[in-house]
Symmetry: C2
Subunit: 445 residues, 2 copies
Amino acid sequence: MSADWFRRRFLPRGPLPAQRPPRPRASPVPYRRPRFLRGSGSSSGTADASRRPDARPVRSPVRGRSLPWNAGYAEIINAEKSEFNEDQAACGKLCIRRCEFGVEEDQEWLTLCSEEFLTGHYWALFDGHGGPAAAILAANTLHSCLRRQLEAVVEGMVATQPPMHLSGRCVCPSDPQFVEEKGIRTEDLVIGALESAFQECDEVIGRELEASGQVGGCTALVAVSLKGKLYVANAGDSRAILVRRDEVRPLSSEFTPETERQRIQQLAFIYPELLAGEFTRLEFPRRLKGDDLGQKVLFRDHHMSGWSYKCVEKSDLKYPLIHGQGRQARLLGTLAVSRGLGDHQLRVLDTNIQLKPFLLSVPQVTVLDMDQLEPQEEDVVVMATDGLWDVLSNEQVARLVQSFLLGNREDPHRYCSCWGSAWTWVSTSSNIKKYREDITAEESG
Amino acid sequence: MSADWFRRRFLPRGPLPAQRPPRPRASPVPYRRPRFLRGSGSSSGTADASRRPDARPVRSPVRGRSLPWNAGYAEIINAEKSEFNEDQAACGKLCIRRCEFGVEEDQEWLTLCSEEFLTGHYWALFDGHGGPAAAILAANTLHSCLRRQLEAVVEGMVATQPPMHLSGRCVCPSDPQFVEEKGIRTEDLVIGALESAFQECDEVIGRELEASGQVGGCTALVAVSLKGKLYVANAGDSRAILVRRDEVRPLSSEFTPETERQRIQQLAFIYPELLAGEFTRLEFPRRLKGDDLGQKVLFRDHHMSGWSYKCVEKSDLKYPLIHGQGRQARLLGTLAVSRGLGDHQLRVLDTNIQLKPFLLSVPQVTVLDMDQLEPQEEDVVVMATDGLWDVLSNEQVARLVQSFLLGNREDPHRYCSCWGSAWTWVSTSSNIKKYREDITAEESG
């Protein structure tokens, strides 16, 4: 994406074109639930929850079906807001081919030759909005984008330190020293691949939705285990935490119109055309009205962390670019998240004002070094969409998880059952300890 | 500053105008050392340092002259890089008038009426480059800008919670609730005032330097004590830390082309004209050359935290927007910092390419709650320019300060002597404990 592209895409010079309805050419994305839920029915959650009249059905993988690292999963249709569950999930093994082979080589033999592959695991949650299509496409696509991006740099990843040239050729004798001085590690290539994969997936979703005449967007929270590290990539307001006996560690942070206020205001400052004269870039404690005219009121602009007072002018009475706070905060009065996939067609109701220029598809990636962590049996990663975190704090979730798992040590299904109460939305927990067994099995296999 | 202003100022549509030399109309800013050094001579530092043949002269306030909170100060002319010491410092009492009085009121009586003033203290370090003028102007001006900005919002600051309307008038009954929900505290007004003061000071410096035909820029590190809190505002690569018995806490972070890479690359992505076809926005481990053409090399763009590989094209061989690492990192091959004051005329050597659009004058502000801190006798804030931090870590500085102060408990000049060795450049330490005495004296006075 270039700056010229941005201008052509979002800043038409003439009058705004009428919002054209998408022209369907391809068949719509079929609705589905996560693949690993096949064959599972609905339960009413834990015994405790099922006694409550408002208990909503909980779905989790059938007993006996194991997900990577003993991960559990449970989902609940959101509080009857929508007919479909707009959330999606995906998980599986990630196989990254180490070499590019010529077409003449025996592909079948190569797929049997395991040492030519780098393997990892992948878990993902997608919280959809404006329809389930974007989340379904993301669940179908993102892991393939990630595999492709990782394969493009895999030769750099398997080295102790990424080489300056992917070919390994040393053009300048001190190239390794330059890489060393920049502090570039193999994990930076995985971070770069995750960043690129999210963007690639966003483009795929944009094309597919336009082709099928569908709309919508989704957040994306992804965990990837690879070469002794756990990568957590987040674009949106889902959250992952690591729960240990004496520690609750956040593995992601949320991207909402509130947390990204300065970035969003800055863009509106640079390209005021994006607001089409309908919104004000400035933040006020509440929407201003006629009575406020001429008064000095609290405000913030893009360059400010603190607050100041300004004399209210007529243009300040417009609807604010970011309005409301907490769960109610909305970008352009429309969207509660500031990063994610899709939303290419999303416009402010009854206008041509686009949301997409303000949204980022690039995730923030955090890295957990599993070898340094010395994982214990009871260590758990909890990934969940905002439905969980809106009602429970990290510490509350940690206490619930710990006490449930402690009382159900022998149940192999415990990582799914743990979530079977009415307060979950969609969540996945991974048993970190399993990582050690995987690594050991691979090393000896 | 509006987007239109930015475009008019930095993005000329026609061919670039020849770089016009500044037209001197006013007399040049006279060179001086900090006011509180008046009457002080130079020493060769501590006994230990003075034995060393390379010991450089150290200047600190004369014995018996006390700075607010027993603060110490010592400076050393930098390693003969320049004829003048380009660094400056300022400190003093901050008196903020609480009300705007009509002209008919008795000004003399009002200045005697101490409860109409809010008082605080102010310490500042300015690390100059390209000549001492900007740092001198900053030392002469910034505290006045801050006082003015604080006076503009003081009625909001003295309330328990800033009112929605500065007048205190409640236009909407739930206004206090809106302010509460946004979490706006009185300290946010001080943060906002510091942010505005830095920008105002930057504009003053720009005008003054143009008028006097001088050039230059400086970083700014400011500490302000006000109403039980210590505010540290930083624009540049100076640093403040809090040293306690069991803790070393950073009170600022550095702004350099490296730490602000993504912001700077993003601006070049939005306005490629700023690079005039002479620089590449992308980051590589080293500057590329002809032999790299067609190879896949490590790179990063504005949206990337991680690294990836790209196939080298001819345009990638241009000089990088940000080049080098650590102390050697430079913006446009010219400047080692990415925030500060001044530099309005600074251009890349022999070109019309301006540095200023990439520089921010707005500081990052951190707040230390002195009441929550329960300050002890030995707690010290250390503020120093990069000369100190380039050679000593936070922990090394903390250990040196602690051991020196412990051995010189009875010497009232100890906060100055502490720095009298060859490794300091410019530094200030404040005795936090003194704060309690100040507050007590003010409350009983």
